[in-house]
């Protein structure tokens, strides 16, 4: 397994206002697998992704990422683990506003240890995402579809074994959304584990496996 989360518990707030975002959730993804986690807004999908990706320590349960428990590591080592093992894509893209498309993609190489092949890889991904003519544009000059493809290229730059996508198509039109889904499926097919969380039932068919979540629990 590339990633395994078992009996994950995460609550927010205190007393009356306690929200159980993850209530003993278990989820695993293997190399080459494309898992879709579907559930309504607020059911804990983003929390689950951040926990699996080594960004948010669970209050209960256990995460194993590339054979290690990221939360048992020092913050430095955990950051390193993220840099090399995980790619993230978010609904809001989170591109650095003052960097070009190419530089945004290369941001993934900032932490992962720079190598000249990162540049070649960036150019390949930019071409693959159909962004060649947008290479030197800033995020503000891009359409939402182009922004998300830039974010995707950034997530894939270091060829992470695990790619976590949080509603990547939420802000996109049909065609762009499909392009992103195709790229994700393709990435899974190349041997990585891809976990996509969405509220949109459209993507069920395209997933290798679909898991349903409600109120912080996996229901199917």
């Amino acid at each position: 397994m590339v990633v395994t989360g078992s009996d994950l518990v995460r609550t927010y707030g205190q007393g009356d206002r306690t929200v159980r975002a993850l209530d003993r959730v278990s989820l695993a993804a293997d190399a080459g697998e494309f898992v879709v986690v579907r559930g309504p807004s607020g059911c804990g999908k983003t929390t689950l992704l951040l926990t699996l990706g080594g960004l948010l320590a669970p209050q209960g349960g256990h995460v194993e990422l590339a054979g290690q428990d990221p939360y048992a590591l020092s913050p430095q080592r955990r950051a390193e683990l993220r840099a090399t093992q995980v790619g993230f894509v978010f609904q809001q893209f989170y591109l650095v506003p003052y960097l070009s498309v190419r530089d945004n993609v290369l941001c993934a190489a900032l932490a992962a240890g720079n190598a000249s092949h990162a540049q070649r890889r960036a150019d390949e991904l930019i071409e693959q995402m159909g962004l060649t003519s947008r290479r030197d544009h800033r995020p503000g000059e891009l359409s939402t579809g182009e922004k998300q493809r830039t974010a995707l290229a950034r997530a894939m730059l270091n060829r992470p074994p695990l790619l976590l996508a949080d509603e990547p198509t939420g802000n996109l039109d049909e065609a762009s959304a499909q392009a992103v889904m195709d790229a994700l499926r393709q990435y899974a097919a190349s041997g990585a584990a891809v976990v996509l969380v969405t509220h949109d039932p459209r993507w069920d068919r395209q997933a290798g496996r679909t898991v349903r979540m409600e109120y912080g629990r996996v229901v199917e």
Binding site: L50, L56, A83, F88, Q92, Y94, L110, A112, D166
Partner: protein, 422 residues
């Protein structure tokens, strides 16, 4: 290649106004500090040059004073006459009281400060039987005391067997140099015929003191001493001469022929003294001005530094806050807090260097405006100031942006991304 340095430059170029604000904050702080130092230094340089001018003026005044006094003295000749206390000048018919001849020696040995020519004389109306007329017989030795060997005697001694004739005498009797004359059965050779001097002096016949004493039957006696009371040093010494002479030579009176000169000396010495006092006054005024400037500086420097630091801290906080999402995603991509912090501290460092340059330039421009001329010299006189500005600016910037950079480093990417996503 993508590096943190590239990230830094891209951000600076993207948010130029923010960067300009940081630079301005540092520049203002540096300008306050460097400006204060440069202004004080240029003030000191001005003070030095002003005082140097005044000192020169004072030295000139004293030199001119002494030179003029010397010239006056030369014109004046003997200006002091020391006579017996009971010698009545207003009654020429009265029997003159004489002094002992050794008084001249005594005075010379006492070496009074301002007397440098001492000439004993014996003078009395004398009937010249061979020529049937009254003359003033004047017996003198050479000068017994000359203060400085460089000084020429004021009056040559009358050589043994010689006589010097006043204008009225040689004109009236048609005598010339080299003529032999007889006075009361003594023979003298005319050594010099004096030009017209006026009144009493033209009626004089100068002979050696010894001869005069014998002719007037006053052995070892003198009428008085002629002296030159010179103005060589302090003009106040002139005023003390009476008491000094009285101490050395009892039963004498001092007659001064230099009241006009004295008055002029006093005026001149006053103006020379005034020049000295002007230096002191000027020095005191400048010192007072410097103190007040220093106290302004003592206020301005910490205020400027503190103000700059606060503005820089606020601007960095604003920068960190605005870049939350960026920080969150970079951390999600595996950047550690330490490297995030480094980005902000590096930005502070760059602001500091550019700000130090701008601030130092502004300080120079300010000093050049407020203290024209001295500004460049002040800058040259403070060669390490630019380095100190750069170093100080970097320390100030790092200190001011430490807390916000720490805040950025301590951000939890999960919290940021959850919030940004909400």
């Amino acid at each position: 290649m993508m590096t943190l340095r590239r990230l830094l430059w891209r951000e600076i170029l993207h948010r130029r106004l923010h960067f300009a604000g940081c630079v301005l904050a540092v520049a203002a702080a540096v300008a306050c500090c460097a400006g204060t130092v440069l202004l004080l230094r240029s003030f000191d340089l001005q003070t030095e040059s002003i005082l140097a001018d005044k000192r020169q003026a004072s030295a000139d005044a004293w030199a001119q004073f002494q030179d003029e006094m010397r010239k006056d003295m030369l014109k004046l000749g003997f200006n002091l006459m020391i006579l017996h206390r009971e010698h009545n000048l207003s009654d020429p018919e009265a029997q003159a009281r004489t002094l002992s001849e050794d008084y001249a020696q005594k005075l010379a040995q006492a070496k009074p400060n301002t007397i440098n020519h001492v000439l004993p004389f014996l003078q009395q109306k004398f009937w010249w039987p061979e020529r049937n007329r009254w003359v003033t017989l004047m017996g003198t030795t050479g000068e017994v005391y000359i203060k400085s060997s460089q000084q020429k005697p004021m009056l040559q001694a009358v050589p043994q067997g010689g006589a010097i004739l006043g204008y009225a005498i040689h004109k009236g009797l048609a005598l010339a140099e080299g003529d032999m004359i007889e006075i009361d059965k003594r023979t003298f050779r005319v050594r010099q015929c004096l030009p017209k001097r006026g009144f009493d002096e033209d009626e004089r016949v100068y002979v050696p003191l010894r001869a005069a004493q014998e002719m007037l039957k006053r052995p070892a006696q003198i009428t008085g001493i002629l002296a030159v009371n010179c103005h060589c040093g302090d003009p106040e010494d002139l005023l003390n001469i009476r008491s000094e002479v009285a101490r050395v030579l009892p039963d004498t009176q001092v007659i001064e022929h230099h009241s006009k000169l004295l008055a002029r000396a006093e005026v001149r010495s006053k103006s020379a003294r005034e020049a000295d006092r002007e230096i002191e006054r000027q020095a005191a005024t400048r010192a007072e001005l410097r103190r007040s400037r220093l106290s302004y500086g003592a206020l301005l420097v910490p205020l400027g530094a503190l103000g700059g630091a606060i503005i820089l801290a606020l601007l960095t906080f604003e920068n960190v806050n605005r870049r939350r999402m960026e920080i969150g995603i970079l951390m999600a991509l595996g950047l550690t807090g330490g490297r995030i912090q480094a980005v902000f501290l590096a930005k502070a460092g760059v602001s500091a260097l550019v700000g130090a340059l701008a601030g130092y330039a502004a300080a120079l421009a300010g000093v050049a405006t407020w203290a024209p001329g001295a500004g460049g010299l002040a800058a040259l006189a403070e060669p390490v100031l630019p380095l100190a500005c750069a170093g100080g600016a970097i320390l100030l910037s790092l200190a001011a942006s430490w807390a916000p950079a720490q805040l950025a480093a301590g951000m939890d990417p999960a919290v940021v991304l959850l919030q940004e996503g909400a």
